[in-house]
Amino acid sequence: MSETAVPSSLQRAFPTFYRIARGWQLRPKPESVINESRLPETLKPIALQFASRTNWGMQSKTKLARLVLEYFNRQMAGGVTAEELSEQWSDAVPFPAVLKLNEPSLLTLYSLPKPIGELIVSVVRKTGLWRREQIDVTEELISHFEDGLADGQAESQLVSEFGDPSTAARLIRRAKLRNRSFLWQTYRRARQFVGLVIVMLIVCWCWLWVRFHAGKPNVTNDYIGERDAVVRAIPESDRAWPLYAQAITKCIDSASAYPFPAPLGADGKVLPEWEGLVELVDVQRVDGFVKQAWPISDKDLGAPPGTKNVQREYRMKMDAYSKALDELRQGTHWPALVQFAKMNQEAIDLALEGATKHQFGFLFRDPANEVWLKSLYQGAESSFEESTQSLLVNVLLPHVQALYSFNRLFLIECERAVESGDRKRAVKILSAYLSISEQLYHNDEFAVEKSVALNFSKRCWFLVRKILREQPQFFTNDDLRDLAHRIAAHRISTGLQIPVDSKKLYDDALQRLYTDDGHGNGHLTPAGTQLLIEQATITGLPVSSIAAKGMWKPSAWTAPVVAGMTVSRAELKQVFDHCVSLDERDASQPLWETNLYRTPSSLEYLRQITSTSSGRMKYGVLYSIYPFRDLGDSENQPFKPSSLVLGADSAKILCDATLVAIALELYHRRHEAWPRQLEQLTPDLLPTVPIDRFDGRPLKYKVVDGQPLVYSVGRNQVDDDGTVIDGTTDGYESRSGDWRLWPVTMGGH
């Protein structure tokens, strides 16, 4: 920029800017300072080279050039020749501290013999100290060597006696650092500490990464394969499942009889005659149907706003569902249901034949499964096959769901038999309910199967009481005695107990998640981590909520660390065993000796060991693979040993109530009056008066308005004189009030 290049208007408008710009433009440069001097031409390039070798700013370079220039002039004035100066300065290199040196020191430094100057520069540079400290050291070393030279020492001797420059620099640096302030020392220690921690963390992470990724699970037990081998040893003629599979296929083959989707009319709506039927065969639609017909809110249920009593809601739905069935039977839809049952006679008969078999006999790994799976659950066959290779706890049980359809079909068929007065058919169906229940109950150790088995039993007991209520004379005395014996001998009701999930479940989990060192110990593997993450997605509320809280949802970076901090295989086994023993202890306690609303001991134990962050990190994995159960109000954990235990006791009450109902009917036929107390039924019609599982005393009985009433004190364990408190029909499984067991209302259990 030239002077004329700056418009005068700009000069006036921005005087400060103009002054700065002018200063920048006119600032002297080292070239001009040296070239304009009277220095001999031979020295000018040396001086310029010296000043230009630095990477400093222009101003500093210019200052350095002036210093060198002045020094050269003085030296020559003192008699030193240009050649001597040229020789001395040709390789001189400035170092960072030079500019800060006072002028005599700077000049002295470069006037010292080259080896000494280089030694000083070398030592000071290597110290890496602050500039102020470098200046101090430089000046002291200059002074030292000057004294040495003045003392008559040869430069070579001085250099050799000085020692190794690197060692000197290191020692000087160390000593000078000790002279720095306490604040700086603290900062330095803190920085070193943080650095050390970071290094250690990195080393630890690397070690964990290698350990984690080198680990592979060693699956030695194929529990599904072992179980299938046991089933294969059963003669096919003793297995029920092949007949059930045929029955399912027959239903499906008859597309018009098993409407998926429901047949639609011209207006796009389900044909009126199929409406009720569709709802009955599709449990999900039943939910929608029930909700639509009988909207249920928490307010209606008497629950505090914002809370949910899912079990009660479910029970309400089932009550409503039964009511719907009654209405359908009496209404316009009953013919459609009858038609549906008639069209599926072959399937029903096959299922009834299957119920006569002693063993359930389902094979998980059977190519034949594809047939019924493909037709019943389109696209599900592949995931089912995959599930048998995954965690045992995740094995899909589509056969159970498929079989459940017959629960409903039998219901329609039984109602049809009662309507047509076909006692034998009704008894056969009731017996089939119990048989299927026994087959399922003893088939595997999956809690889901036990639960479904209980539902089959309950349906039988309910229907018996319902028929007795609606058509007391339908069954003959012999029928009733046979039914009573069959129910009393029911292989579930006689020893009704829902066990906790098999230990096989978590033994299988351990072998698929952890390495195996051959001594029962190991660490989490990448494959195991992946399984756990999938598991967290599958198992619903407890795990997903934990994952959502970051308790157990490791990323690729954190997985090795999380795996390293996760409980070892051996310790996990101990914890598992402890939890199982706690569950078993809970299950062995009679309901009247326990608080029904307490947290299961195993879950309490888990909460205790995961109460801290480190505990959650260490034991969070437990939530994924151990079937911890809540007492029954957790909506996403329907299968819980504790609630199943409760369910088993509840079922036992229903079973006993059914036997009492049969005995009462037989007594009434014999005496044309109801007994005053249940003891009158024993021992002819009833071996003993059944125990109310909730209070440990006999089931409650009284005659009201000439009608008998059998009830349990229910879950509140208080005798409310047979009063049902909440909105359910008979109060069954309600938390408050009594449970009316006999007579059942139309839309009972």
Binding site: E139, E140, S143, E161, F162, G163, P165, A168, R178
Partner: protein, 122 residues
């Protein structure tokens, strides 16, 4: 004679403190004085001396100051602080006790204790 590093590590600072006990001195002066000890036993390279001085300074036993000498050159003079004087007195005591023990053991010669006895009393 070359003294082992470990020995020098203990003796060097004492020697420097003792030198400074005689009054302020600059680096080269101390180097020369140490080199002049018998057998040059305390002769240490400058690469050792200067860090030692900085360490003593960090410990507060000596302090440094620049001043102009007669030759018009600037020099850095070191002198004992009060703490340095105390330290020197203590160290001297310890070294004297050590020397007495060495004499007793016969490591150091003494007219009173024959080396052959080693100073060990049965």
């Amino acid at each position: 004679m070359r003294i082992e590093r470990e020995l020098m590590r203990g003796a060097g600072p004492v020697a420097v403190l003792k030198l400074l006990g005689g009054g302020p001195k600059y680096g080269y002066e101390m180097v020369a004085a140490l080199a002049a000890t018998p057998d040059g036993a305390l002769n240490m390279g400058q690469s050792t001396l200067y860090p030692m001085l900085y360490n003593l300074e960090a410990q507060g036993y000596i302090k440094a100051s620049w001043s102009e000498a007669d030759s018009k050159r600037r020099r850095k003079y070191y002198e004992l602080t009060a703490a340095g004087k105390t330290r020197l007195a203590e160290t001297e005591k310890q070294w004297r006790a050590l020397a007495q023990a060495f004499v007793g053991l016969g490591i150091l010669g003494s007219p009173d204790v024959p080396p052959s006895l080693g100073g060990v009393t049965p």
